[in-house]
């Protein structure tokens, strides 16, 4: 796939993009809503190159770690610090978020308990199978890319009658968040770059309301630099033609119809509810919770943390933290007065500086911002 990173090709695409943006007569602002897209842009130095070509890129709430309210992170910490003989299995991304009770990684586990970083929910399930005397809680956080795998794992656990496995869910849906950002009207967005792997599951249809009801063009893009530039070019083409649709610029990997098997699984195990997102507040139909038949697997219920979970979460940040505004695209990381001064990767005040997908961490690590060295 190195052709998709070839500088000559990227230069040519950037030139085309520059020409089209010039024809538009103004600087279009495009929002991507996927932390991995944010990463691609910065890791390869694309954002300044796009700015030079006359396109402004802005990040939306594409970081599941960042938008999960502190209360849910704190529930995970409570599980591993209060109960003995328990394994709290989590994706690496989730373990460093600073909460009022510190981070999951820094928490001191109860006797015989431990935090375990996993790459897949199946690793957690395997541990529960291997050690029937041990309680295993999987801290399941993610968007639609990750949710089907978690649903599958839940279904297997139920089918096998495992009593020592449960899932603490922090499951979020992208399309409702897009609607919330558009309805909030805080920033003007001229186009969207849709997340390619979320779309692998949900397909193109769930974004169509953006084109139809708001008249905003968008393109589903993959994750190589070339993929993203193809997406940007497609959005500009639509804008120039006065068209708004959901273009698929990642056809080599996904289809417009998405993955029906994955969606059916999600639907079997989970049901939507009005979840509270850090920085965006309560969004109708934006979260997933266990259906009644699977409620036995809900760690929130099993460990008496229902009051601390997403349903009734207090989504406020630690004092002074403006992650919420960053997540909504209202300010850039540099627009937060704490950015790179008091809030730095080794002393983060909010999740946007902690999560590998967090806009603030990405800007700090990869940005061309001129900072005084301290």
């Amino acid at each position: 796939m190195k052709e998709l990173r070839d500088p000559a090709v990227l230069r040519r695409l950037l030139d085309e993009i520059g020409a089209k943006a010039g024809l538009l007569g103004r600087t279009p602002r495009l929002m991507e809503v996927c932390g991995t897209h944010t990463m691609t842009l910065f890791k390869h130095g694309l954002t300044p190159m796009l700015a030079e070509a006359g396109v402004e890129m802005v990040s939306g709430p594409g970081c599941p770690v960042c938008i999960t309210p502190n209360a849910v992170h704190e529930a995970a910490i409570a599980a591993v610090t209060r109960t003995e003989g328990l394994t709290l299995a989590a994706f690496g991304d989730m373990t460093r978020v600073p909460t009022r009770k510190g981070s999951l990684q820094a928490a001191v586990p109860a006797a015989g308990s431990r935090l375990r970083i996993v790459y897949s929910p199946e690793e957690a399930l395997d541990e529960a199978r291997r050690e029937p005397g041990r309680q295993v809680v999987f801290f399941g956080a993610g968007f639609e890319t990750t949710i089907p795998g978690i649903a599958y794992t839940a279904k297997r656990a139920a089918a096998e009658g495992l009593r020592n496995f449960s899932i603490l869910p922090a499951l979020w849906l992208i399309p409702p968040a897009l609607r919330a950002i558009l309805d909030a009207g805080e920033i003007a967005v001229d186009g969207f770059i849709y997340p390619g792997h979320v779309s692998a599951v949900i397909g193109a249809a769930p974004y169509e309301f953006v084109a139809r009801d708001y008249g905003i063009p968008g393109a589903i893009a993959g994750f190589e630099p070339g993929d993203m530039l193809l997406g940007v070019r497609s959005v500009l083409d639509q804008a120039l033609a006065g068209r708004a649709e959901v273009a698929l610029e990642y056809g080599r990997a996904i289809g417009r119809e998405g993955n029906a098997v994955a969606r059916a699984l999600m639907d079997e195990v989970f049901e939507p509810f009005d979840a509270v997102w850090r920085g965006l507040g309560k969004i109708p139909g934006s979260g997933l919770r266990f259906r009644a038949e699977y409620a036995g697997l809900d760690a929130g219920r099993r460990w008496g943390m229902a009051a601390e979970t997403a349903e009734m979460a207090d989504a406020s940040d630690l004092a002074g933290c403006r992650c919420g505004e960053v997540l909504r695209g209202v300010i850039r990381p540099a627009g937060c007065p704490l950015f790179s001064k008091r809030c730095r990767p080794d002393s983060p005040l909010g999740p946007c500086m902690v999560s590998f997908e967090g806009a603030c961490l990405i800007h700090f690590k990869y940005g061309p911002v001129r900072r005084a060295r301290s």
Partner: protein, 75 residues
Amino acid sequence: MCLAVPAKIVRLEESGQGTASYMGSEVRANFSLVPRARPGDWVIIHAGFAISIVDAREARETLRLFKEMAATDRR
């Protein structure tokens, strides 16, 4: 939140588990979400699950387009 890689299926087991090859390394993953996948197919793997089958024809077409763009630039 979309960190995933394209990998080629090497072996599928009854349980839905299997192995795929990515740049010479073997990855264990669950293929239950892509029941039509066969050994030799390329899939997108995220967090231990294959979530999509890569369309080999489209993939070749994309690469060809990019190769073309690269070639015409080097005169």
